[in-house]
């Protein structure tokens, strides 16, 4: 050891006995934590955005020695401002999940058996290419269907359209937001998009219909929601369950499931009858008020009371609250809207209510998207398909989005082989067995396939049925299509960029798509070699400093959220046929549907059965996150919420394990009962996404029960093809052997 210090230092130290040489090294490091503990070593911070769900909050990844130590919120992100939910904070547990798909795999056993052999990327892509070419020559390019989801699906959509198939469908439409988008577009001329442009932050009254903010965690939405409540905004929650939001509500309306339209009509009735709607706004922007007035005349709160089981005075009181707070009423349009098959009409009713309150385009209501100009490569035109789409979008389901497609339509077409055979599925970023109801039907469709290619991060259920499995890098290891958030109040562009190199042999989605394009001779559709190049082109007209974008992760632009901010270049305010808000929809009339929403009773649960309702938990994302060790520790299984009285009648107790059986005899895995007075007596609630059947998900396997498994029936929305899923009924079996009812 060379004890090295200068002379003065020496004299100083030698007089102070107890200078500890051995401990000096430790003390110098800051002595906060032993080495290896997070919080001591912060080497590099990479700004990117999250994909634990699809809100895409701003994330800072702290990276040292090629390892992501910690994720935290990115304070520079215009929407989420440094806040991150439990899932976002737990992202590293996805990155380092030991069950991740590590190598390209080729099926080695029967479908569903889960036997694979490891192959190289070259083998995998060559095989994929050869099969696609073969199918194209045999059945035509339309025989290949894409099931995409998420941001990176852009690359695969481009690839597949270039290949020549129009068949692509994501569950975000027909199993989620589709009815809402269609319902609002029918009324206002445009849908809502994501993130939802609800001006919670400025609202005086928040109305949630089935929306469970607080259990559904979209960070910035929760922040705005809580800030509004803290500021004194009132809250109306319509939910058969005493949700987190309901516990904060000024009015909780435990509506009888399936009767929401009746409630909405009664509200509209009160607003019009008492003349407390926004008359100027309606006069200026809307058409169809007379038809609406006469339509709702008979739908009084008293009428609704018998249907919804909500007291008429409460309905009236809440309508008055809306009338007072208008236009700053944030009537949340919801997100997962496929409930009973009448969902487009319900969304229409909500849109009409929003219009009557003058909230659309007003402060505290629903704000307007701000278009952002983006640069585009000039691609050759996509080949036109002569045979058209197979999923029924635009035909069987006249108002279904052709961009997002109808997943169930595509599954049905595959099963039936009509209008033409579909022989290959390429699944990217979704779990077709969990996200699409009627799992048996989906499995039947898979049986018809010559080729099932799954691109995934984790060995989800569908992977077991795949012929070829391509391991994708997680969001922390890849570039994705940047997010152009036009529907945010402060629109922004946010980057997803890799914090570290992909682990194992996983590859980013863009790379896989680009490689396939090269092999299929479709290079022209991918006229860029690196994502950076793509980003440069995309941001060309935005005047964004790319260095800043990379460093901060997102760059914001001035928003024009309210009607008074609109510029001419933003286009027509209400791009409907009439150019006005269509309270009465001539288009629906023309297509043979009700031009004004009407309450049509839905089937009640038979005796001894509950209506199965489902939702989200704050620490999980759909069926994606159950294998995440950190989140599993917080919530490893779901529970069956049963009303206290109903539980007493059934003689089931808190924590008891039961099996749920639906009207068609489908049974769930064992699930624990939560006895609570916080749910109506006629329904049973469970969190979606549990009960995984894939053994390769070693942590999540067989924990809790799957609601999808119990959805053997759907009520398809004839307008846009959405699958109403709250039409299934379950009973509770306590004696698991004999199937004895509790």
């Amino acid at each position: 050891m060379s004890v090295k210090f200068n002379r003065r230092e020496f004299f100083r130290r030698s007089s102070a006995a107890g200078v500890v040489a051995g401990a000096g090294a430790i003390a110098a490091k800051g002595q906060a934590h032993p080495p290896g503990w997070a919080g001591t070593q912060r080497v590099e911070e990479i700004a990117t955005n999250c994909e634990m769900c699809f809100w895409r909050c701003g994330v800072l990844a702290e990276v040292a020695d090629g390892k992501v130590l910690k994720l935290s919120g990115n304070p520079a992100h215009p929407l989420t401002e440094g806040r991150l939910c439990a899932k976002g904070n737990a992202g590293t547990s996805l990155l380092y999940d030991p069950d991740r798909l590590k190598y390209p795999l080729m099926r080695a056993g029967q479908r569903g058996e889960g036997k694979f052999r490891r192959i190289t990327w070259n083998e995998a892509l060559d095989f994929f290419t050869a099969r696609l070419k073969e199918l194209k020559s045999k059945y035509g390019p339309e025989s290949v269907a894409l099931f995409p989801h998420g941001v990176a699906s852009t690359w695969f959509s481009t690839l597949m359209r270039a290949f020549g198939t129009p068949n692509a469908a994501e569950p975000a439409f027909a199993q989620c937001r589709g009815p809402r988008e269609v319902g609002y577009a029918l009324t206002f001329g445009q849908g809502l998009g994501s993130p939802e442009p609800v001006d919670l932050a400025e609202s005086k009254l928040i109305v949630l219909i089935g929306t469970h903010i607080g259990e559904n965690i979209f960070t910035s939405q929760v922040t705005a929601f809580a800030e509004a409540l803290s500021r004194g905004a009132k809250l109306i929650v319509v939910d058969p369950r005493f949700s987190t939001a309901a516990a904060k509500a000024d009015w909780w309306l435990p509506v009888r499931p399936g009767t929401d339209i009746a409630l909405l009509l009664a509200w509209i009735n009160v607003l019009i009858a008492e003349g407390i709607y926004d008359k100027d706004y309606i006069a200026r922007y809307a058409q169809g008020l007379p038809e609406l007035s006469s339509h709702v005349k008979e739908f009084t709160p008293e009428w609704a009371e018998t249907i919804t089981e909500l007291p008429a005075d409460k309905i009236r009181a809440t309508a008055h609250a809306m009338g007072q707070a208008k236009p700053a009423v944030a009537l949340h349009p919801g997100r997962h809207a496929t409930w009973y098959g009448d969902d487009t009409q319900r969304s229409r009713a909500m849109a009409i209510l929003t219009a009557l309150l003058g909230s659309w385009g007003s402060k505290g209501g629903i704000f307007l998207p701000t278009p952002l100009k983006t640069g585009k490569f000039s691609l050759p035109p996509f080949p036109e398909s002569k045979r058209g789409r197979a999923d029924g979008a635009g035909t069987r389901y006249p108002l279904a989005s052709e961009e997002q497609g109808v997943t169930n339509g595509l599954v049905d077409a595959t099963v039936a082989g009509k209008p033409y055979p579909i022989k290959a599925w390429v699944v990217y970023g979704q779990n077709v067995l969990e996200s699409i109801p009627r799992r048996e039907n989906t499995l039947r469709a898979i049986e018809q396939l010559d080729l099932l290619v799954v691109v995934d991060v984790l060995p989800m259920e569908q992977v077991n049925y795949a012929d070829l499995v391509l391991p994708e890098a997680t969001y922390l290891e890849r570039y994705d299509m940047p997010q152009i958030a036009e529907s945010a109040k402060t629109p922004y562009i946010a980057l997803r960029q890799p914090a570290i190199e992909p682990l194992y042999e996983s590859k980013p989605g863009w790379w896989i798509a680009q490689q396939m394009a090269r092999r299929l001779g479709l290079d022209d559709y991918f006229p860029w070699s690196t994502p950076e190049e793509h980003l440069k082109k995309l941001t060309e007209p935005m005047h964004v400093n790319l260095g800043e974008l990379r460093a901060k992760g997102a760059v914001a632009f001035a928003g024009r959220p309210y009607i008074e901010n609109r510029l001419r270049e933003d286009g027509p305010l209400f791009p409907t046929e009439s150019g006005k808000i269509e309270l009465y929809s001539p288009l629906l009339k023309q297509l043979g549907f009700d031009p004004l929403p009407r309450y049509v009773p839905v089937a009640d649960p038979p005796l001894g059965f509950f209506r199965l309702i489902y939702g989200r938990a704050p620490v999980h994302s759909f069926a994606r996150s159950q294998n995440n060790a950190v989140l599993d520790a917080l919530m490893s299984e779901n529970e069956a919420w049963i009303n206290t009285q109903a539980a007493r009648d059934l003689q089931v107790s808190e924590g008891q394990e039961v099996v749920l059986e639906n009207q068609d005899g489908a049974r769930s895995l064992p699930i624990k009962v939560r006895v609570t007075s916080g749910i109506r007596h006629d329904c049973l609630y469970m969190v979606h996404g549990f009960g995984h059947q894939s053994r390769a998900l070693r942590l999540a396997y067989h924990k809790g029960a799957s609601d999808t498994n119990l959805m053997t029936r759907v009520q398809v929305d004839p307008i846009m093809g959405g699958t109403g899923m709250r039409v299934n009924f379950v009973r509770v079996l306590t004696d698991l052997e004999s199937g004895q009812m509790g």
Binding site: G39, G82, I217, T219
Partner: protein, 247 residues
């Protein structure tokens, strides 16, 4: 000197556990443990007039911490700013403080085998950052600040808006995590998650009540005996003793 405190706004907390996970990854808390976590109360009342809220549990950095007196080695101590900290270099993992804490805010970290708990993210404070839980809180329900600074959020919430402490008549040791919200919500939290009396583990009781007096007595008696002998030696003179064997 500052007096740090936290306020949890129950009106804004949605129980999302973002704080739990942010804290866990900030401090490498092993899976299954937590420095802070959120628990829902049960649903009280009769349908449809129901009540429920969340309890955010963590170290309260009490004015009169029950843990410090029980820590044998002094590994647990209170800094001048009121933050109760653990010196990992001194902790032997005996768990006395874990028993002591009325709020059950401590756990033995199975990896390092030492006690761990919230320290208001002292290391982050030194870097000028807020505690990880506060920074990430999706409902912006968690506030951190100095109770001696009248401009701080926490000052206003505690002294002007009446944020309350989770104290009972039995256990009142001055917790510095305050709960702001409807009275019935705060009461519900207190009813369902009341602080327990500080406990001493059996080993500690035996040590204090039996072993320590025993050892002190043994050493004391020996010392007195020797002192007596020494006194006698001085009185009689050393030579006397040396010759004693011959007499």
């Amino acid at each position: 000197m500052a007096r740090y405190a936290m306020v949890i706004d129950l009106k804004k907390c949605v129980g999302c556990q973002a704080c739990t996970v942010a804290c866990n990854s900030e401090w490498e808390v092993p899976i299954g443990h937590a420095r802070t976590h959120v628990r829902a109360t049960s649903v009280a009342g009769n349908f449809p007039n129901l009540l429920s809220t969340f309890y955010v549990a963590q170290c309260n950095h009490c004015d009169h911490p029950a843990c410090i007196a029980l820590c044998p080695t002094g590994a647990t101590y209170q800094a001048e700013d009121g933050i109760v900290k653990v010196d990992r270099g001194l902790c032997i993992g005996c768990g006395y403080c874990v028993e002591a804490c009325p709020y059950e805010a401590r756990y033995i970290n199975p990896v390092i085998k030492k006690v761990d708990k919230c320290d208001f993210c002292s290391a982050r404070l030194e870097r000028g950052q807020e505690p990880a839980c506060v920074e990430t809180c999706t409902g912006h329900a968690k506030f951190f600040g100095d109770l001696e600074d009248s401009r701080s959020d926490v000052f206003k919430m505690v002294y002007e808006q009446g944020a309350g402490r989770l104290e009972t008549s039995e256990v009142a040791i001055g917790p510095n995590v305050y709960y702001l919200g409807k009275k019935e919500h705060v009461n519900l939290v207190l009813t369902e998650f009341p602080p327990h009396r500080p406990r001493m583990p059996e080993a500690g009781t035996v040590w204090e009540k039996v072993v320590k007096p025993l050892v002190l007595a043994a050493v004391g008696v020996t010392f007195l005996g020797q002192a007596a002998a020494f006194f006698r030696q001085l009185m009689k003179g050393e030579s006397l003793f040396e010759d004693e064997g011959e007499k």
